[in-house]
Symmetry: C2
Subunit: 256 residues, 2 copies
């Protein structure tokens, strides 16, 4: 590649989070870094886009060394769309999202703004990777992830991901020495059993907070991301945006 | 089944939309209908959930014949979670979402609140179907869809969908006589090229509206939902929430 790779960095915890700071600093070793990220936390936004209201963009300079930096009032997917279609000088070579403060393994991938930004990157025809650390603290220690992120970025820049595939990388809450390695996995079958915490406002009217308990339906399955994380590995799951259940097409033709 | 099927109906256009009225009236022929739907339009919300703010629920009676009806301040996925975990007397036998005012074919599935509600239904272990009509008008004519929705609901109640699969059904903007039939398809490869419409507020500051142009990358592929809809068929795509690119796992193991 004659010119340096153009790397777009975004996240869902907001442009000020420590996770995106760690990730963009790593990205700067590999290319020209452009940061377009939400101006506030956007966790759990999934693949939401802003179509019924307006978007704002603001130039900022939180990240020393970034070639261009904007924060956007929209969702993580809005940020990628804004970047690719309006702000970047050319199509990016790589989209990086994260590092998320908290897990995006197994079914969490579907609710995750971090991973939806990566999936949107792959929709734009660009290699894309979402990174998450299984630690929700704003002051989480990301240092154990650096070695692996270096390795994954090198590998993906050398061997572009195939059309329609991005990567979902999750790190256990461990130091570099404690992490046993990187394991390629599939998404574990899992779900959340929700408990709605009912409270009453000062006027006596009820309102609810969504809380829940995570259930792994296959804790013994060693080829899953949950197993890897529970057993001290970082997990990496190749992730699609073609949601078609190809295996079920013929059966469906027969029953309809 | 000794008791009547329990059917949850939701949508993303809001509880007052004509599409959910049409769908819930059909559903009442098949079972006991519970409607829990957003209190306002939630198009483009994808699989977003409300975790950083609170949810409100309000009992309503827009739909004559529903056993219970609530509108919820949250997203379509919030509505399904609220219904299944809090409001319904037992696990539903079927989750129906729609009928959406507008297409949810091909890549639109990933941005769609309608389809995310159906996917959430399948995550809860329930057969689930999202219906959409390729007509964005609030006064769209849904009468051409009735025959096919009857047929699909009958079929799915008789033959439960497999674990992890829901259905994405789209209807062309045609009368019943004009619709050529129902076609089982895969999701077409497609994308949106976005154009951000830049305007200025009364204070002179810029803001943006997301608009875009839909691109079908494979207009000749007769096994896709886009082809079906363009050629006068209703499309039905079996849809997954396992996003793993299973075919790419071995290659990834080799390069990392």
């Amino acid at each position: 590649m004659a010119e340096k790779p153009l790397i777009l960095v975004t996240n869902d915890d907001g442009i000020n989070a420590n996770g995106i700071l760690h990730l963009s600093n790593i990205a700067m070793k590999f290319g020209d870094v452009y940061i377009i990220a939400p101006d506030k936390p956007q966790s759990g936004m999934g693949h939401a886009i802003t179509i019924n209201s307006t978007l704002r963009l603001q130039k900022s300079q939180y990240h020393k060394g970034a070639l261009l930096e904007y924060n956007c009032s929209g969702t993580p997917v809005d940020c990628v769309k804004m970047a690719v279609n309006k702000l970047l000088p050319r199509k990016p070579d790589l989209v990086l999202s994260g590092i998320n403060h908290g897990s995006n393994s197994s079914i969490n991938v579907i609710y995750s703004g971090t991973m939806s930004a990566a999936i949107e990157g792959s929709l734009e025809g660009t290699s894309a990777i979402g990174f998450s650390l299984c630690d929700y603290s704003p002051h989480a220690d990301f240092s154990g992830t650096t070695h692996y992120i270096d390795k994954i970025i090198s590998s993906v820049l050398a061997d572009k991901l195939p059309d329609g595939v991005c990567l979902n990388v999750n790190f256990p809450k461990l130091t570099f020495k404690e992490i046993k390695g990187l394991k390629v996995c599939r998404q574990a079958k899992s779900n959340w059993v929700e408990e709605f915490d009912e409270r009453h406002d000062p006027h006596g009217n009820p309102y609810y907070w969504l809380t829940g308990k995570f259930i792994n339906f296959e804790p013994e399955a060693e080829d899953t991301d949950e197993w890897a994380l529970q057993n001290g590995y970082a997990s990496i799951v190749p992730t699609l945006h073609d949601l078609t259940a190809h295996n079920y097409i013929n059966h469906l033709k027969n029953i309809l």
